[in-house]
Amino acid sequence: MYFETQRLSVGYSGKVLVRDISFSVDRGKILSIIGPNGAGKTTILKTISRHLEKITGTVTIENDSIFRLSNRELAKRLSVMLTERVDPELMTCGQVVAMGRYPYTNSFGRLTSEDRAIVSEALRMVRAKELQDIPFSNTSDGQRQRIMLARAICQQPDIMILDEPTSYLDIRHKIELLDILRSLATEKKMAIIMSLHEIDLAAKISDYIICVKGDTIENCGAPEEVFTSDFIKSLYDMEGGTFNTLLGSVELVAPQGEPDVFVLAGGGKGIPVYRQLQKKRRAFSTGVLFENDVDYQIASALSKCVVSAEAFNPVPELKLKEAKALIDQAQFFIDTGVKLGAYNEFCVELLNYAKERGKMILYDTQELFSQNL
């Protein structure tokens, strides 16, 4: 393995914050560290980039301990992108990027034509060529992050360490930045280690995930292994709300109480209605949903009363009975306009049942809220 830590303990002034950290990353791979705020993600990153003294354990690059390398040697093999706000006076973006050549230039920092070519190449990689002569202070957050990334690329490292590179960025810039990181890993064969807040993005970008909680690494492995809804809930001590690992979506706290609205849904028609009801904190029941239906994913996050049926099979009579029982409990019946087909004719049956039972039939939530029902 290219970069490896073994039984590493990190912390401040001798006090251990996280212990027994053992992981490794190969070149061309991306490792993300996730965990709640204040868990020590930054402390780990600072220690493995030698900004902080380790407490115990080893960190090696190609079997060389990073604590034995000279400053310059380490700077040639490892570069960082930090969360510190950079505010240099009268510097153009190009000059900031060129600073990455520091370990390679002579004692007066003179740039050779080769250095300049490397700076240009780095700017091209982060798609910021046009920013070269722009003063750094005139750039937006998104541009700044890309410039600081170009600076880190200029250092021509084999391993790059990034502390929350996506914070402060809007969704477009987040995606762009992660895409650049992926191409650095594949094209330049860099090993990349970063901390990320967005667990949905972490699952998609990373080859390897480690989760920090309390004073230990709670879980690690490939994203598919690590990310289960229950694990995410316990990692972040989430009390309400859920993280859907299949869709990567975050759902807010489910409404409490006895459901008095039954939603007839399916094929994605239910989701906007569920969300509306959640905003008004109105408990609802819904069904019958096939388990491969996208509505099912969201409904089960937002309601306890969901009648579901195995996909690719006709709905058993028992499930219809359950649904009818829920309709009996409810006062209102929302028909979301599910597209009817050969296998969901039961929808008509349920609608007719609601009518028979004298339930108020509505077609969207607006009616429900506007009449203060």
Partner: protein, 340 residues
């Protein structure tokens, strides 16, 4: 782009050198005794009329004084630039942070309690005491700066330390023996009037060494502008670098204080003017430019101090404040704007 920059650098250097020459001529030429430029030229370069009053005025008073103003002005500006790099704050400077006042206090102690008189102390001893004073006050400022990340608080602390040092100095001067008071009072207000060839020798040695070392650390200074974290990640030994920076800045500002007393605003205003002229903050360009610019600034300020209300001489700080304070105010306003 790059070519334009180099032309700009060269142009600014040439203009500054020309201004230094001009200031030197004006300084030597102007005063209560008027001399024609031709005569000055003859006296300086051809040893004309050796021993005459004119020759003495030029050789013993005006020439050393102008050169002292040039060297100390340059040293003060470079010291300010180093401090601004250190604190990453454009308003840091030896005077604002109380370092000049600390040096002043120590020199006053040396004069009153050790040497017994202003003339009884050797120039090297003066520098040594001023250096100690600078280091100790800067040490205090650093101690507080670790407790607060807020730059405004740091500046206020520096100003307060400066006031404390000045108060103690004034207190000692008040109770010093009569024969010290006149020279001490004037020196403690800041003036180049004490210049002589003897002190000039010491000044050139110390200032040249300080300037040379500052240029040697211009590469890490450049990287330090990106912040400590990044500087460290590029391979800079931060502790060593900070130590060198503190030592150099103390040495340079101590030299100034030892020989000319505390001079305000030069340390902040001149590096800023140099950066504006060069449109760059690259230390390797700005250190020499600050030095030259500081020389010009102080020589002209000294000229004004001597001549505006002649024969009464103004304290040099009065003149530098007059031109420097507006620059500092504009800096403060701009910094606020950037933060918002």
């Amino acid at each position: 782009m790059n070519k334009n920059k180099i032309i700009r650098y060269q142009l600014v250097y040439i203009v500054l050198l020309f201004l230094i020459a001009l200031a030197l001529v004006l300084n030597v030429n102007t005063g209560s005794v008027r001399l024609s430029p031709a005569k000055i030229f003859k006296i300086i370069f051809m040893g004309f009329e050796e021993g005459s009053v004119e020759s003495n005025i030029i050789w013993k008073i005006r020439l050393p004084r102008s050169l002292t103003a040039a060297l100390l002005g340059g040293a003060l500006s470079v010291s300010g630039f180093l401090l601004q790099t250190f604190f990453r704050n454009p308003i840091a400077g030896p005077f604002v942070l109380g370092i000049s006042s600390g040096a002043k206090l120590f020199v006053a102690v040396a004069i009153i309690f050790i040497a017994g008189s202003f003339s009884g102390i050797t120039p090297y001893l003066m520098v040594l005491f001023a250096f100690l004073g600078s280091l100790i006050t800067l040490g205090f400022v650093l101690l507080f700066s670790q407790k607060t990340k807020n730059m405004s608080v740091l500046l206020v602390i520096g100003i307060m330390i400066g006031y404390i040092c000045s108060a103690i100095t004034d207190f000692m001067i008040t109770f010093a023996r009569d024969n010290h008071i006149a020279s001490l009072t004037f020196w403690s207000m800041g003036s180049f009037s004490g210049a002589s060839w003897g002190t000039l020798g010491v000044i050139s040695v110390v200032v040249a060494a300080g300037l040379f070392c500052s240029i040697l650390i211009s590469k890490p200074m450049d990287a330090y502008q990106l912040g400590e974290g990044y500087a460290k990640s590029m391979g800079i030994n931060i502790k060593l670098f900070r130590l060198i920076l503190v030592t150099l800045t103390s040495l340079l500002s101590a030299t100034v204080t030892a020989f000319a007393g505390p001079i305000s605003f030069v340390g902040i205003a001149v590096p800023h003017i140099s950066k504006m002229l060069m449109k760059s903050s690259k230390p390797i360009v700005i250190i020499p430019a600050s030095f030259l610019c500081g020389s010009v600034f102080c020589m002209f300020c000294d000229l004004l101090a001597r001549t505006v209300f002649a024969p009464t001489e103004l304290a040099i700080g009065t003149v530098t404040a007059f031109f420097g304070a507006p620059v500092v105010i504009s800096l403060m306003v701009r910094q606020r704007k950037n933060r918002q």
